[in-house]
């Protein structure tokens, strides 16, 4: 007889954890499955754990004492944007923007933080006859009369449930299988790469001018990233720094520069080199795909009795320089749990999806991801005009005016405008470069920060390789179909044969042909090659694959 639980939650990141905690709180028997050996071992973030004033459904709703108990890094009190042109940097204080509607804001390292969350989840779920099982990869859905009735895994017998909550992240296999989102569109993704750097706590506090549990965030944009649309970030942790770059995936592909090289450009830029040289040491490299929730908002993230939450449902907001993902997932998790509890109470389980969609629609999540349509169109037109105007001397002389400068920086600090900021080269590159060029100060430093080659970065990661069972297969190995993998995969490089993807020349019938070859051993399971190449992409089995130490 098949096993049955009231609820199965797939993935124990912040979204899945919040859903499970809320279910358990309401007496629901909930089974949580996570494919890492310890939840968090696969998870990374390039963001801040926010709580918002306009919703009660933040992490403290399910874990009221989390600020006291959780392994958090630092409370982010200051937020700066650095507009960069060459060695010139204009710093803009965006603390006001960061604080807008903010209840709390913490930097976190996900491996530690999610592991802690998962313990809370396990204890709560045990009380209602469920619990957390890690090292289990959910591979598919159980269908009954054509409708979703549970999950299949690589490790266990099929598990039936009244409700399945898919919180399996940006690379959700459940979402792909149930065709809830179009996976294959590079323009609806960001790709982030990150380095965690260790630094002594006292040095860190001195250099970043923080003390106690206070921390600071710095963002970087401008011409150091060429034409790639995106930017860099730095968050202070307790005794480490999270430094990364995030770009729209289509521009990573079209620019053809390898992702780790953007990170290198940031790390080596004088504004960072001055702080990092001789003090900081890279301890972990990581990467992930990030859904662009504004471009790919899913209005009805459910199918039958499967509800999708968090990154899996594209619930990620890039409000200009403010990045919010984890808190949207947490809110959605709580709403999904409440929808199930309510549907069950009314004896109308089939209504659970519609209830969840309605709750999302009434929440800030829809409002912020859909944004103000009119404002978005207007800004989109304005920035495309801006792109043309920016090349003229008129624009330069206008920006020179303190009045215009004040206007531009004022606009940067407006949350409403940021929320509706369009994805444009003007916003990411042109305007910051211009600001820095005209109003920036030259950073003069003799200090150099030496970045690590990609081979060394891979060598420092831990893997439990599923030998003989590659989880990715290249379906078409021509450079036309899968060549983008070589440059866009964050653990591949043209000049390295140690990465996942490389281009090799072979002689076939006396003719030289180029082929894309794959070695999944260094894979960090980001999903990039599933989007930009012709591949058959699955997650490794439970416990297998990359295992982060910081995340």
């Amino acid at each position: 007889m098949a096993e049955k639980f009231e609820a199965v939650v797939v993935g124990c990141g912040p979204a899945g954890a919040a859903a499970a905690l809320e279910l358990a709180k309401n007496g629901v028997q909930v089974l949580v499955l996570d494919r890492a050996r310890v939840p968090g071992g696969k998870n990374v973030t390039g963001g801040i754990l926010y709580g918002q004033n306009d919703t009660p459904y933040n992490l403290d709703y399910v874990l009221p004492e989390f600020e006291k108990e959780a392994p958090l890094e630092r409370r982010i009190r200051k937020y700066f944007m650095h507009a960069i042109s060459g060695n010139k940097v204009r710093r803009v204080d965006l603390t006001e923007l960061h604080e807008y509607n903010t209840k709390f804001a913490w930097s976190v390292l996900r491996t530690k933080f999610d592991a802690w969350l998962s313990q809370k989840v396990h204890l709560a779920a045990k009380k209602t006859g469920g619990g957390l099982i890690s090292g289990v990869r959910v591979s598919g859905l159980v269908l009954e009369n054509g409708r979703i009735a549970g999950v299949e895994t690589s490790e266990l017998e099929p598990i039936h449930a009244e409700v399945v909550i898919a919180a399996d992240g940006a690379t959700s296999e459940l979402v792909r299988q149930s065709k809830i989102r179009n996976w294959m569109e590079p323009s609806s993704w960001f790709q982030g790469v990150k380095a965690v750097l260790s630094m002594s706590q006292s040095e860190l506090e001195r250099i970043f001018n923080v003390s106690g549990d206070e921390g600071v965030a710095h963002l970087y944009a401008g011409n150091l990233f060429g034409n790639a649309r995106g930017g860099g970030f730095l968050y202070t942790n307790k005794d480490t720094l999270s430094i990364g770059t995030v770009f729209h995936l289509d521009s990573v592909v079209s620019e053809g520069l390898e992702p780790h090289r953007y990170l290198d450009r940031l790390l080596a830029h004088p504004v960072l080199a001055e702080m990092l040289a001789d003090r900081a040491r890279e301890v972990e490299y990581s990467a992930k795909l990030i859904p662009d929730g504004k471009k790919a908002f899913i209005e009805r993230p459910y199918k039958d009795r499967m509800l999708v939450i968090g990154d899996a449902a594209n619930q990620m907001l890039a409000a200009g320089p403010i990045i919010k993902g984890m808190n949207l997932g947490i809110t959605a998790g709580i709403l999904a749990a409440k929808s199930y509890v309510e549907a069950k109470k009314r004896g109308d389980l089939e209504s659970v999806g519609a209830r969840y969609a309605q709750a999302l629609s009434d929440s800030y999540i829809r409002k912020s991801l859909e944004g103000n349509g009119l404002l978005r169109s207007a800004l989109s037109i304005l920035t495309s005009i801006g792109e043309g105007v920016a090349k003229t001397s008129l624009f330069s002389s206008a920006v020179k005016s303190p009045l215009v400068l004040g206007q531009i920086e004022g606009m940067l600090k407006s949350y409403r405008l940021s929320e509706s900021a369009p994805d444009s080269a003007f916003a990411y590159n042109t305007l910051p470069s211009k600001l820095a060029e005209i109003h920036g100060d030259e950073v003069k430093t003799a200090k150099r920060f030496t970045t690590l080659p990609i081979d060394e970065r891979i060598a420092r990661l831990s893997y439990d390789t599923d030998i003989g069972k590659p989880h990715i297969e290249v379906l078409d190995d021509t450079p036309q179909a899968s060549g983008a993998c070589v440059t866009a995969c964050p653990v591949s490089a043209r000049d390295s044969s140690r990465g996942c993807y490389s281009l090799v020349e072979q002689e076939v019938n006396g003719r030289k042909v180029q082929k894309v070859v794959l070695d999944t051993q260094p894979c960090v399971e980001c999903g990039t090659c599933a989007v930009v190449g012709a591949t058959q992409w699955e997650h490794p089995r439970g416990n297998k694959g990359v295992e982060y130490k910081f995340g």
């Binding site: 089974l31 045990k126 289990v136 490790e155 598990i159």
Partner: protein, 281 residues
């Protein structure tokens, strides 16, 4: 099921032969006093097998170990893996027992427990390597015996066990009546295929780790009198085996000169690389 199943796991304390733990005398024989005693490594698999039975079929796991009072630490080690109750058979009258006399003590202890549905034992002990004690105990108790078990199933209602034995290059499937004495092969592997089993397994592991801290609350020590042992059947008096001589196993003489290299030190590693290149040339 009429009655809860009862499992016994046999464990033995052996010298810790791991490098860095084991101490040798000048004549290269084992310095028993200076070498710590640990649970026989193969017995871990017997405990895993008993835990699998508890998860799948319910019941109680009892560890039985024979040895002097300091062997409490050995049964504690067992409890860290899994046990509900611990029994240490400890009496000067049990000392210097051969395999037959040990099997007799085990028989008495199992019978004092009211018998067992399954007795699990590991494959050989690291010190004696005889592999006789288990089968002799099974024979004395009249239980079905299966050795080299790599997997097993129970049908408690029908009173039947089924095992897969790994014998050389072949697998043998054996079915027999309970009670049974199962000896786990070093290749034994537990299998948990349902979520409920995995949840129970986690719970049991958590519980036993907590219990192991205060293991003495779960420990019973039985002496020869408590077991009603016939002193001519246990200990040295009950041991027909005569050890004529023991060949000292000489420690392999060290012929190579070794230097420890710090793998994180690039200069030292460079030296290694240079040496390899030099020798190859």
């Amino acid at each position: 099921m009429a009655q809860e199943l009862n499992y016994v796991v046999l464990t033995k304390g052996v010298p810790d032969f791991r490098e860095g733990k084991v101490v040798f005398k000048e004549d290269n024989t084992l310095n028993r006093a200076a070498t710590p005693t640990v649970m026989n490594p193969n017995d871990y698999l017997a405990l895993e097998a008993a835990l699998e039975a508890k998860v799948k079929y319910g019941g109680t796991v009892n560890i039985i170990c024979m040895g002097p009072p300091p062997y409490k630490k050995v049964v504690q080690e067992g409890m860290q893996r899994y046990a509900d109750h611990l029994y240490l058979l400890s009496d000067a009258k049990f000392a210097a027992a051969d395999t037959l006399a040990t099997a007799e003590a085990i028989r008495l202890a199992v019978q004092k427990l009211g018998g067992a549905d399954i007795i699990f034992a590991g494959f050989k002990t690291a010190d004696g390597e005889t592999g006789q004690t288990g089968p002799q105990a099974a024979w004395k108790l009249g239980y079905s015996l299966a050795t080299h078990v790599i997997r097993y199933n129970l049908n408690p209602e029908a009173g039947i066990f089924e095992v897969t034995r790994s014998i050389k290059d072949e697998l043998e499937f054996v079915r027999g009546p309970l009670p049974a004495f199962l000896v786990t092969d070093p290749a034994f592997k537990s299998e948990y295929r349902t979520a409920t089993q995995r949840l129970k397994l986690q719970d049991y592991r958590e519980e036993t780790k907590k219990r192991a801290y205060q293991f003495e609350e779960f420990l019973t020590i039985w002496d020869a009198a408590a077991l009603g042992a016939d002193e001519w059947k246990v200990g040295i008096k009950g041991s027909p085996t005569i050890v004529e001589a023991v060949d000292p196993i000489p420690r392999a003489p060290s012929e190579r000169k070794a230097r420890v290299i710090n793998g994180r030190d690039r200069d030292q590693l460079q030296g290694v690389v240079e040496l390899i290149l030099e020798r190859r040339a």
